[in-house]
């Protein structure tokens, strides 16, 4: 099964605005999602230069879907949503 890609922006702005808290997924992801995700730390994805900028950071992309003002809660919810969709398609 293909893993869900969680791209965490680790540019300066996103990092200061809270990306480290989402990096905690590396050590302490909830059991149901731990094996289904691949965490990728990326340098600035340039979302901070558009729209309302870095104030909407930290930015995370889950399988390409953008999450603004990302928190652990939001990211985990998105991952679960995608897993549910995948599992449905597979049965």
């Amino acid at each position: 099964m293909e893993k869900i890609e969680v791209k965490i922006c680790a540019g300066t702005a996103c990092f200061v605005m809270g990306a480290p808290q989402i990096q905690a997924l590396e050590f302490s992801a909830p059991e149901d999602i731990a094996d289904r995700i691949e965490i990728v730390e990326v340098r600035c994805m340039n979302h901070c230069n558009k729209g309302s900028g870095y104030n909407k950071g930290p930015f995370v992309e889950v399988n390409g879907e953008l999450i603004e003002e990302a928190t652990m809660e939001k990211v985990v919810a998105k991952i679960r949503e995608l897993i549910a969709k995948e599992d449905e398609e597979n049965c």
């Binding site: 300066t12 990092f15 200061v16 600035c44 870095y54």
Partner: protein, 483 residues
């Protein structure tokens, strides 16, 4: 107790970023827009309504500009006016932690409570084990009489249904020295005399009601509006605070406008040398043990709360002290700014004439964001003075004692012990050591659990940062081999 990041302390970072942004944009001309920016009309409120959110934000912004909320004399004074006032300020005010009274939720006094999970069982261990006969049965359910309860927690321990819970007051629970207490209205207040500035209350308050006066605006102002040279002294915990090479962070600080950047790990090497010599001397004189002294929160705690341990506390100065001393000898007219993970350092700096300002990593991070400095794009720059592996390890628990151990190896008997995190229990332990002695002869005390790397001014996850510090340590040379 390790306090996880949460919305309350994440908001603190955003507030600092906004202050920096407003400084660069128009020197606080439009600062009154910030609370609205952070809590616009269509936003879900976190308190009763967005208007209260904004009112609390105003106080938090005041603190970020260097004022404490309880200094407020004129409620109508705007953030713009506070900003202008901050820019006129020549010397920063004394640092201190304080409570925003309107934000404090006045949590119920810490107590034990029986929940709906109580099944009114036949065994009733809660009743039988309560030493004060405070538990009776009302309507078929266990009931605690608050006047008799002494909060020992036995009932909670013995309940087979986990039906009894403790309702803590988070700030009071986090404070290792009971310096934060309720007034007659239930609102918390910090006793400045008793406070050791560790910042644990600030980290733990779920309502973001505790603030600290920042020196951010003062430093920004000096960098941009004075011809003085401003030099950053980077604490060794910096390694791992940003996901970039250390020399790029140095480059980024220069881009921000610091004229020079020096490494405090170099000062740590002097601390190690002096502390090792002091240790040998004390042991040869027959002393039972010695404790470290470089953690300013612990040092202050020994003065105010554990006086009996004072004879055992090392007299060696801290890495910040030696770094600042060297710096001021070379450049007497410069402004020295210590940048670290620690709030208690602000208190230490007040007694150190060579340290002019103290910023946290979080504040430096906010400066990068607000000034739009991307570290990845900065020119890497090296430190002039190279630090040793031991000096680099100071921010980890065991680092300071390890450095002393490295230097005294083979000279005297060395039995280290770590006190990793200053808690109420560990303060009791230290009192016991002072009066009854202990097995170890070198005790390292760090107020923050895990070491400085887990300090309240840090950005990174302690676990990740620790790894980065360890790899930086590996690249360093042993202090003994350096000359």
């Amino acid at each position: 107790m390790l306090i996880p990041k949460n919305y309350a302390n994440q908001m603190r970072t955003r507030i600092l970023v906004k202050v920096v942004e407003s400084f660069y944009k128009n020197r606080f001309e439009t600062a009154d827009e910030i609370p609205i920016d952070l809590r616009p009309k269509d936003y879900d409120s976190s308190r009763c309504c967005i208007y209260k959110d904004r009112a609390v934000l105003k106080y938090r912004l005041m603190a970020a500009m260097g004022f404490t909320p309880n200094e407020e004399t004129n409620e109508a004074m705007s953030l713009r006016e506070y900003g202008k006032e901050a820019l006129k300020r020549q010397n920063h005010a004394k640092s201190c932690l304080s409570v925003i009274d309107i934000a404090c939720s006045a949590c119920v006094k810490s107590q034990y409570m029986v929940t709906d999970a109580c099944r009114g069982c036949f065994a009733r261990p809660c009743v039988m084990n309560c030493p004060k006969q405070a538990i009776s049965f009302v309507n078929g359910r266990s009931h605690i009489d608050p006047d008799l309860c002494v909060s020992c927690g036995k009932c909670m321990e013995v309940c087979p249904y986990h039906a009894i819970v403790k309702l803590p007051v988070p700030c009071e629970e986090a404070c290792p020295v009971s310096a934060i207490k309720k007034d007659e209205n239930g609102v918390e207040h910090i006793d400045e005399e008793a406070c050791i500035s560790c910042g644990k209350c600030l980290q733990s308050c779920p309502f973001g009601a505790i603030v600290e006066r920042s020196q951010l605006v003062d430093v920004l102002n000096l960098i941009h509006n004075s011809d003085k040279k401003v030099v950053a002294m980077l604490a060794p915990a910096i390694v791992g605070q940003f996901p970039f090479e250390l020399n790029q962070v140095v480059g980024a600080l220069k881009k921000l406008g610091f004229d020079d950047v020096v490494e405090v790990a170099a000062g740590a090497d002097i601390t190690s040398t002096n502390e090792a010599a002091e240790f040998v001397e004390r042991m040869e004189a027959g002393a039972q043990f010695m404790t470290t002294s470089c953690c300013p929160a612990y040092y202050r705690a020994t003065k105010v709360h554990v006086p009996e341990i004072q004879p055992f506390v090392s007299h060696t100065k801290t890495p910040m002290y030696y770094t600042a001393e060297m710096l001021k000898k070379e450049q007497p007219d410069c402004i020295s700014v210590f940048v670290g993970p620690c709030l208690a350092k602000r208190n230490e700096a007040e007694y150190d004439p060579n340290v002019d300002y103290v910023l946290t990593f979080e504040e430096i991070g906010a400066m990068f964001v607000g000034a739009k400095v991307e570290i990845a794009d900065c020119e890497p720059m090296e430190f002039a003075k190279v630090s040793s592996a031991q000096g680099r390890k100071y921010p980890l628990s065991g680092g300071v004692a390890g450095a002393v151990g490295h230097l005294v190896e083979g000279k005297v008997d060395y039995r280290p012990e770590r006190i990793d995190g200053l808690t109420k229990e560990n303060i009791k332990l230290l009192k016991k050591y002072a009066t009854k002695g202990c097995e170890a002869n070198m005790i390292e005390v760090m107020c923050c659990e895990g070491g400085c790397i887990a300090g309240p001014g840090c950005i990174s996850l302690a676990k990740k940062a620790t790894k980065q510090v360890e790899s930086y340590v590996e690249k360093g040379q042993n202090q003994k081999d350096m000359k």
